[in-house]
């Protein structure tokens, strides 16, 4: 269970990226965080795993107050939060397998990981995960030989091998084509179900969010504007989140792309 209490972030530049964000996410629930660019989505998930320090408010994961942790405690808790990035999420010159195993870095320490001295059970788990995300055959390929979708699958496997309690996902589909985007979203949501994992998925694409999650949170200018099931995203609600133009464009775009998928 993740709890945020009046989480607020003001950047040194004066940008008020988050204002009093309060919400609860039970384990096993996948939440899509939507909102226009600059709404504070990335800031929100970075405040949870403290890649960004919140200005005030609390983030609590299973009774541990993340916002109060010192550096040792933070390292320990970060292992329980798997993060999946939009891009640059892999160490390019390592193999797929090594990238997945690097998710154990927080557990086994650097030297053991670079000299490939991972415990056998980590290696076994890495193979299982690669199999699950459909990349078993690519284990020895170098990361820079992969397509965007494949790279994202490796990122997912790497986050999962941390054995996290919470998955933080920042725009997992922003650099992917629509079809691959849907496959990746489906995979993330299935894996969360299988593992009873809570997840926050930042996504600017409303239709994609509606397709896969049970709960949507809409952010605008750092303030929560909507929190509910995807069916609740009426045109009025979407307008308060995105303003007049934006959301209609996203939806239309996806519809056209869907059509293309059907035709091809």
């Amino acid at each position: 269970m993740l709890k945020l209490e009046q989480l607020t972030k003001v950047y040194p530049t004066g940008d008020k990226a988050l204002t009093d964000v309060t919400l609860e996410i039970p384990s096993g629930q996948v939440v899509a965080l939507i909102g226009p660019s600059g709404a504070g989505k990335s800031t929100l998930i970075r405040c949870i795993n403290r890649l960004v320090s919140p200005s005030s408010g609390k983030a609590i994961l299973d009774d541990v107050e993340l916002t109060a942790l010192g550096s040792a405690g933070l390292r320990r808790e970060r292992r329980r939060m798997g993060m999946i990035f939009q891009e640059y999420a892999l160490v390019e010159r390592l193999t797929v397998m090594e990238n997945v195993l690097s998710g154990r870095l927080g557990y086994v320490g650097f030297w053991r990981s670079y000299f490939r001295k991972f415990p056998q059970k980590d290696v076994d788990e890495a193979f299982r995960l690669l199999d699950r995300v459909g990349l078993l055959a690519m284990a020895d390929k170098r990361a820079d030989e992969l397509s965007g979708g494949q790279r994202q699958r490796v990122g997912i496997a790497r986050a999962l091998i941390q054995d996290p309690a919470l998955l933080l996902v920042d725009e997992p589909t922003a650099s992917l084509d629509p079809k691959t985007s849907r496959q990746i979203m489906r995979l993330i949501c299935e894996l969360c179900k299988e593992r009873d994992l809570a997840a926050i998925i930042n996504i600017h694409d409303v239709a994609l969010a509606q397709m896969f999650v049970e709960r949507v949170i809409g952010l605008r200018f750092g303030v929560v504007q909507f929190d509910g099931p995807p069916e609740g995203l009426t045109p009025d609600v979407l307008t308060t989140i995105y303003g007049e133009e934006d959301w209609k464009e996203t939806i239309q775009k996806v519809d056209e792309e869907d059509l293309q998928d059907v035709v091809s």
């Binding site: 970075r46 795993n49 890649l51 933070l74 390292r75 320990r76 970060r78 292992r79 939060m81 993060m83 990035f85 640059y88 999420a89 160490v91 390019e92 010159r93 690097s102 998710g103 870095l105 927080g106 320490g109 650097f110 030297w111 670079y114 820079d144 941390q162």
Partner: protein, 235 residues
């Protein structure tokens, strides 16, 4: 014209006959320069990397200072080391002036800023791509440093080669602290200067040819590393 042709011929003969004097000088040059580059890497890699990932007051000034040291005139470095090592200087009792060790010290001072400044740039760029990923995986500071240094290893080799090019070609610093003593501290550049002034063109030319070949090989190595690195994305 006749003289120059004869000198080229003699120089060529010295090289192909593996002339002992000539290769002693080349050997000492390489020993001094390679030692200086090795020490500079040991100092410059961690220093540059630390600067790249740290934020503290005065960091910007240190970065500017190190970059400006890259352009230090070798004679000034030689003079400084001379002042420290001369019998009247603070380290005079070590009696190191006019030894290869003194030359290594001087060249280390010349090369370390180059290696450190290039390392800082390389590691800072790489860190821009890795830092969130590594921190989100609970990597410690030293894990982050060693991951970055390791992943940037090909670029770091180019940094050390750049330093080597400068050390091998400079004449001012080694001349002042080494003294160009035959069989002891005579290296390629100082020998070329001396032999030319004596009119002994054969040895000077022979050394000059080898020096040029060495710099060409260093640059070729640099270039082929760069080309290869494009395949190794982000190397």
């Amino acid at each position: 014209m006749q003289d120059i042709q004869a000198a080229f011929l003699a120089a060529f003969n010295l090289i192909v006959s593996l002339d002992a004097d000539l290769f002693e000088i080349v050997g000492l040059s390489l020993t001094v320069t390679l030692s200086a580059v090795a020490i500079s890497c040991l100092l410059g890699f961690p220093l540059g990397a630390l600067l790249a990932i740290s934020r503290f007051p005065g960091r910007g000034m240190i970065v500017v200072f190190i970059s400006s040291l890259m352009g230090l005139p070798p004679v000034v470095v030689g003079l400084t080391v001379y002042l420290f090592l001369s019998s009247a200087g603070p380290l005079g009792s070590w009696q190191m002036l006019y030894t290869p060790t003194a030359m290594i010290i001087a060249q280390t001072l010349l090369v370390t800023p180059i290696v450190a400044a290039l390392t800082r740039q390389i590691i800072e760029d790489l860190n821009g791509e890795y830092s969130e990923l590594l921190r989100s995986m609970s990597a410690r500071r030293r894990d982050i440093l060693s991951t970055l240094l390791w992943d940037a290893r090909y670029s770091l080799i180019t940094a050390s080669l750049a330093g080597m090019g400068r050390a091998l070609a400079e004449v001012g610093a080694v001349m002042i602290v080494g003294g160009n003593i035959n069989h002891v501290t005579r290296v390629m550049t100082t020998a070329i200067a001396l032999e030319t002034s004596k009119g002994e063109l054969a040895l000077a030319l022979g050394l000059g040819i080898i020096l040029v070949l060495l710099s060409i090989s260093i640059n070729a190595a640099l270039m082929s590393l760069r080309t290869n690195m494009e395949r190794f994305a982000y190397a």
